[in-house]
Amino acid sequence: MWRKGLALLLVLGAALAAAPAQAATAVDRAVAYLERAQSRDGGFGGAPGSASAPTTTAWAAYALAAAGRDAGSLRRPGGATLADAVVASIPGVRTTGDVERTVMALRTVGRDVPADLERELLERRAADGSFEGQTTLTSFGVFALRAAGHGPRDPLVAGSAAFVAAQQNDDGGFSFARRGGRSGIDDTAAAIEALVAAGRGPRSGVVRRAVRFLEARQRPDGGFPLMPGGTSNAQSTAWAVQALTAAGRDVRRLHRRGARSPLAYLRSLQAADGSIRYSRTSVQTPVWVTAPAVCALLGVPLPILP
């Protein structure tokens, strides 16, 4: 697992090898923070000591796997493993988002996807390739299909990617729902990562337009906001970095109008305990925020495949 994780990093994260020492230090500290935040049930809550939640647990798994850890085996002394926690979340799966996230998390921690869960995923995919007719749910659907073993050229993956591509707004961005809604950074980033995961490379017109949308939204502080014009935050910045990396951009060189790079923005939000703060003024859900920031600092986009 560790070797596979390392190999993945070498393939997906060329930036890692060239990353400055300070980035490695920032990642090490953030990963150590995540490891300390694990609960005895194997899962992760939004903040250390809070009850485990499937979403945070999944994101922690992505981050730890991206960092080359054997995420599935991670446990506190005497506690359950992270893989145990992901498996334990299966009975609580209700929504399409639950299904997609759980499939992704299972593969990240090295567990097989149960046949009924994969069937559930496929049943939620509509004839037009969408999941519930929504862009971001469909982007995550692509991630889940890839995690479930479908290749980038698989008709199911390609069909869902085609639905995502058709939802691109005129400004190049994507909204979480459908074409016509206001373009957001997180949703555009997820769409880019889904399109790349479906084999559409950086030369794809849809991807290029979406990349231009993202790059033009970098704030003077180097970060990205949830919605254009808003205040920068770490999670949206992490989404943007992962997407731009997936699209082959070197985010270390992204300095719109003299701003610091988005990676430097993320590092500038690192607190003394290693966590990445949500923004200059907010410390909300530090475990959840730190996890995607780790993926971004390592240059590893979604989906995290074993």
């Binding site: 809550g45 639950d98 729902a177 704030r219 808003g230 205040t231 703060r277 949500y278 923004s279 907010s282």
Partner: protein, 400 residues
Amino acid sequence: MKLQPARLLAGSLLTLAFAAPAADAAPVTVNLRVEGATRTLYQGPVTFDAMSAVSLPPNGGPHPCNVRDNTGNASDPVAPAPFGAIVTAAQSTGQSLTAPWSTFGSIGDFYVSEFGGDAENGGAGQYWGFAVNYAEAQVGPCQIPLSGGETVLFAYDYFNQNELLTLSGPTVMNVGEYAQFAVRNGRSNVGVTGATVAGSTTQDGLASVSFSGVGIYDLQATKPGALRSNVVRVCVHNGNDGNCGFPNDGGATTEPATPPAPPADTPVAPIAPVPSVTPASDTTPPTSEIEGIKPGKVYPRKRAPRELSGSVSDAGGVRRVELRLKRRHERACWSYDGRRERFEQLRCRRDAEWFAIDAGAAWSYLLPERLPAGRYVLDVRAVDTAGNAGQADRVRFRVA
């Protein structure tokens, strides 16, 4: 991630059970606007408190809406939250409200799926969303503490709106006179071009409007792809006789005439009357305080301040908190630039530039890195929701 389809329940199924608010919470008054699918469903001030037990369809409850119990973070304050405003509005007007309860680990919150009969339409991607002071909400509507005076907006199909329109202008006009109405995007406070107000189209955020007859007009700005604005009620008369809202018929009677039916050029239908709470006039400015940095203290470089924090108190609510930070080192000076998050050179005789931060009564600001060597002057000031600007608090310190 997925929002469950709302189960629209006929009639007013709203049942509320308020337990006594916690000792450290206090009622607040905010300006609430609820924009439905085709019209404004509520506009006006509402006063409410932190709620410890709210029961709503479809999940029943009761569940809390008081920030602390919703974030699951014991260090968060018990405070009124945006969802309390729409609950109070529904209760006072008898309009239906459906709000499923969802949990995420220690976090539990409501989300609005229906108000006044306008139920979300998942198939069309039309969901209810909300904003506080037109800022995109990052968390659920029971997790944002309100201190009073905020503008709380709940809107149907919120996530597909390119702009959130706001309208301002005169509330009294004479027949035949032109007046300018300003339409801005609440998110950016920038004037909007292409919006329609009373049949006029805005250019650079302004529209000239005139009325040919007396009456009471409810104006609202609209634009395709944007959320309609608040309503501005305008009294149009033939000479200001001091009876705003009732046209002067030119006669001798002092009895207010019944407002005539608006003439044919009436642009919008009036909104339903809503309960209104008129806040007392607030002329007391907020007080600001910097915490954690001792005046005159000399910090070694490795222990130089990085997180700035403090508090602001005001009876009516805080609108804006601003900081400025000046550094002096070896005869050179710098001002901290809050947009670029770095120090910019400054003439030493000048003051540093103020910058606003996202903050309420308690604020904290994490600097990108520990401060380098130098002498520093940190100021904080606040403006309350009534527009009163408070005195700045200042601390001087040094990093050796």
